[in-house]
Symmetry: C2
Subunit: 345 residues, 2 copies
DNA sequence: CCGTTCTGTGGTATCGCTACCAACCTATAG
DNA sequence: CTATAGGTTGGTAGCGATACCACAGAACGG
């Protein structure tokens, strides 16, 4: 029998409590410990009790690294977002993290900073960590990253935009449709000279799609497309304020402005407060993304409600289903969006 | 010689490309591949070139799970925050994530939702994943978690408050000092009836410390401590607005209010805008934490600047130093804070 | 010219766990 | 009472990497 023999001393100076230690003290085999912990139903009550007692006594924590190596299954999801600091992504991260936890998974997070090369490096690193699934908040990847992802066999969810040809699965809304809808909404409210402020377009297909949507709507409305009414600005309160002022100065006849990103609209609104410009009297303001803030400003701000949380939840659920054995079929979920008409327009 | 022999078929159906595969194709031993990848300086140029070529040719990604098991070193930091969704923590997460990346580490993130039992479960899970270090945004742990952390030998950084007796290392500001300083500041500006709105106190030593600081300052100012001037509110715009209104109704003589948390102050400010109450004419408003937003509202809001990003950066740096071999000595860093006087007071 | 140090390389033995198969034991039926 | 099935348990052999030691050849001094 196995007994206490084998007299292994190993180079392990008694550092880690292992499954064998628990097994020895519980008077069962290591395999039984393994089963008692990972699939309690598969061992008898008696055994399970013995194992549980020993586990508690020693405060044993199974080594998941060893477990993952042996089973060739990891329980970590990789997540790459442009910026953790942004509250929009934060909502998504939160939802993913909740679903993950409910399913015994962990989340490894990485910031791409909107840089495609960084995204590539980060995904490589996550794959080296052998994550069991990936969520990427980006759909415009570098060529090498596409190749890398095509070769891997773990499930991948892209989000942030609806790609024409998803690598694997995609959960998002259409930036084009959303921007087009909001611009159309402004047009139907009677605004004739609608400005558009966008986040940087470089390396960001979401921004570009939104601009495309804006122009498409203008065309449908029969309004002239004036490139001078479009401004590119980094995200931020001050940048939004600045953009608004510049547009009003160069185009005094502007009567509405659609801020397609981040906190630009709020910055602009505050600027109006400072200057005493009536909103929407002097100029109407519309925003992208339903920040909680927009519901409380004076006036409240018309915006697009993007179900960020749903996106996170459903992305994670898709991964979980795949891990549970669902057949790998391309999925492309459009979660839609909603126009929230408030006081600012 | 090793040759191509060994004819191993294994149960591995040829799934993963291993170091041995690379070694075979590069005509070197697996050990040389390992060294070429983890410590390039230790192999000759010739070998390194051969290895690099094979690595590139096959798009080989080393299996860090196997590496970690073998070396008993992981390269993942565990991070537990009350809520990913909160922009304050987000700044910290971002900084940690940057430092981690610069040092070849990854970040595994978990939400405790301000629940101590959850914190305990999450830390256990992270330890089972054999993270190489921990950052906890909380200092009031459950008894069992304290015991667990005392037994572990990985470095741990606590933050969010300055604990009297850190488990290992701590990087934070003092919630007590900060709240005391701001209340004192309001007193010295001449306000006599200073209200205080706090986040929930349960399971949150940070909130409790802030309230203690508020009362301590009142005492120092020689102002009466009126429990009716203290209100507990969940974080949020609406809650801040509501708290302000209630305080003004029950205490019409109130002339200032210190909102010790989240977006409460901003909600209150918007409520004043709606009601046409002059700020600080009718009532002064002060906030905790220098949200970008507070610099742009009308009026701008007096607040405490907490160097959240520094906290994250320094926490991560402490971990990294320890991992690089620094001797395990208790560290307790007070990053301080700063009062930012603006228009609202 | 030989012993010694230094550098670079390879072989072997794990790391702690799980997959797989074999063995066993109790039920149930024939 | 034996044959078959079903449910538990244990032993063995890896998972893919690294630590450690051994060794070969280059570099060096006396």
């Amino acid at each position: 029998m196995a007994g206490k023999a084998k007299g292994r001393k190993a180079r392990n100076g008694g550092g880690e409590i292992t499954m064998s230690d628990i097994a020895r003290h519980a008077g069962v085999s290591p395999m039984t410990v393994s089963r008692a912990l990972s699939d309690p139903a598969s061992v008898s009550d008696k055994m399970r009790r013995k194992v549980d007692a020993a586990v508690r006594q020693f405060g044993y924590l199974p080594n998941r690294i060893a477990g993952s190596l042996s089973s060739k299954r990891s329980n970590v999801i990789g997540l790459v977002v442009p910026s953790v600091r942004n509250s929009l992504y934060a909502a998504m991260i939160h939802a993913i993290s909740d679903v993950a936890r409910a399913n015994g998974l962990h989340v490894m997070i990485a910031n791409s900073g909107h840089r495609l090369e960084d995204e590539e490096a980060l995904v490589s690193a996550l794959l080296a960590q052998r994550v069991c699934g990936l969520v990427l908040h980006n759909t415009a990847h570098s060529k090498r990253l596409r190749e890398l992802l095509a070769r891997t066999d773990i499930p991948v969810v892209e989000t942030g935009n609806l790609p024409a040809k998803p690598i694997d699965m995609a959960v998002s809304y259409s930036n084009f449709d959303a921007a087009r809808a909001m611009t159309g909404h402004l047009g139907r409210l009677g605004y004739k000279r609608i400005g558009f402020v966008t986040l940087p377009l470089r390396d960001n297909d979401r921004s570009r799609e939104r601009r495309r949507g804006y122009f498409a709507a203008l065309k449908e409305l029969g309004l002239p497309a004036d490139p001078g009414l479009v401004l590119e600005a980094p995200g931020g309160f001050a940048e939004g304020a600045d953009a608004l002022v510049r547009l009003v100065q160069t185009h005094p006849d502007i009567d509405a402005c659609f801020f397609a990103g981040d906190v630009l609209a709020v910055g602009a609104l505050f600027e109006c407060q400072r200057r005493g410009w009536a909103v929407p009297g002097r100029i109407a303001i519309a925003s992208f993304d339903d920040l909680d803030l927009l519901r409380h400003t004076v006036p409240t701000v018309t915006t697009l409600r993007i179900p960020r949380q749903d996106i996170g939840r459903r992305s994670a659920e898709l991964l979980v289903n795949r891990l549970r054995g669902a057949s790998p079929q391309k999925v492309r979920i459009d979660v839609g969006f909603e126009i929230v008409q408030r006081e600012s327009t």
